[in-house]
């Protein structure tokens, strides 16, 4: 999207369009690690979805479906909160080549 010039902005830092924070892609905050989702092992408890500070856990038909890397900052909270035990975790942090 194109960004407004200073003379196109409304005076007083007004934002009339609710939810415009979604125009700001925070994915570039990731520095080296990203979560990887494997649906096979997921128990769909939604812990990761609740804890994700960026709302970057995607859902489909009331099931976790993946991660939105446009917004994922790579903080690792989802992988940390994932309660799956005795089998490979559905959410692990892997190295990301930037």
């Amino acid at each position: 999207m194109s960004h407004e010039a200073w003379n196109e902005l409304k005076p007083g830092t007004i934002i009339e369009d609710p939810g415009s924070a979604s125009n700001h892609f925070t994915g570039h905050y990731r520095k080296g690690l990203k979560p990887e989702f494997n649906e096979l092992n997921c128990i769909h408890c939604f812990f990761c979805w609740v804890f994700c500070p960026e709302n970057a856990i995607m859902t489909e038909a009331e099931k976790i479906s993946g991660i939105n890397y446009d917004y994922c900052k790579g903080c690792g909270i989802c992988a940390n909160e994932c309660p799956v035990e005795n089998k490979p975790k559905p959410l692990i942090m892997i190295k990301e080549v930037i």
């Binding site: 960004h3 200073w6 003379n7 902005l9 830092t13 007004i14």
Partner: protein
Amino acid sequence: MRANKVLDGNTAVSEAVRQLDPDVVMAYPSAPGAPMLERLAMDIANGSLDTELVNMESPQSAISGCIGASAAGGRVFSSASSQELAQMHEMLFIASSLRLPIVIGIADRALSAPINYYADHSDAMAERDCGWIQLFCESPQEAYDNIIQAYKISEHQDVKTPVMVAMDGWITSHTMENVSIEEPSEITDFMGKRIPTYSLLNSTKPLTIGSFSSPNYYFEHKLNQFQGMENSRKIIREVGKEFGDRFGRYYGYFETYKLDDAEYGIIIMSSAAGTAKEAIDRLRSRGEKVGLLKLRVFRPFPFQEIQERLLGLKAIAIFDRNIVPGSQGGPLYNEIRSAMYFCEDNLRPKIFPYIFGLGGRELNLSDIDNTIKEIKEKTEKVESENGFHFVNVRYRQVNNE
């Protein structure tokens, strides 16, 4: 009917605010500006004013309340002096960058330490970079007129910038003088109602103000704010003229006194201009060609107009009523000297920095006589302009041999 009353500066301010019928007054009364708020509280208590007055627990809360109420579309007022203004500091930036019309009345008082109760400009000058329009008043009449104009300037669609109206604590705020109070209907007619472009209380059109701004936007927002201040240059003049056309008292960026044929000039703000005018009258009667420029608008600083007005004088003494340790001169000196930089060398007056009146120290007629004598001598001897001059202060040479 215009009423002539004998009022002090604080009462003159509260009279003006009362006539403008504000929606909200945020109160954290502080000396010497406390009576502004006390009188408004009295008016509300006796039913002559229908305004929400909120007693806040700190100056920072008072100005925060003003920001909220102004964003909701209201006309707001508050008052602060000295430490209380300093406590408002961070919120002053927010008020100006959110482009909110707010007016606060200031009775200038020295900043601690040492604790002092009397007039100087340390408090208002410390806030000169926070994006507020600053008007300085010499007398209670000017305080009344400036408050009315302040609302008109502040609420103008092109400006939308908060205004602080400053007068000298005690000297102006508590001294009784004749004040012409205009007919309330005339004032209402002059002002009109505030027409806010948005309101935070409008639930059908929700909006966000003052949210996070990334490096991608912050700079643009700041320039947008900067433009509001630049627009105010024109509006301040227009409002001053419109006020004069209607009420007979004209206002510009500054007032000059016997400056037209003067060789030596004094530049001063607020109440000390009264003393300076008297001193100039006496010097003129002795044949000295001396004049005065009394600055009313410090922000936005009228550098072009000042430059044009001071061209051709031999020397000027700039009187600052606050001290900035480590600087080359007071804020007024620095602004004016920088305004004069682009003059032709042979037209530029010599410029001398004077600091006076800190913590309520008096400025005597003889001090101005001595200043004029001093700058005359220095100009004739082509001495350096550098170095502070302190007016009416004790210093003793100590012999350490």
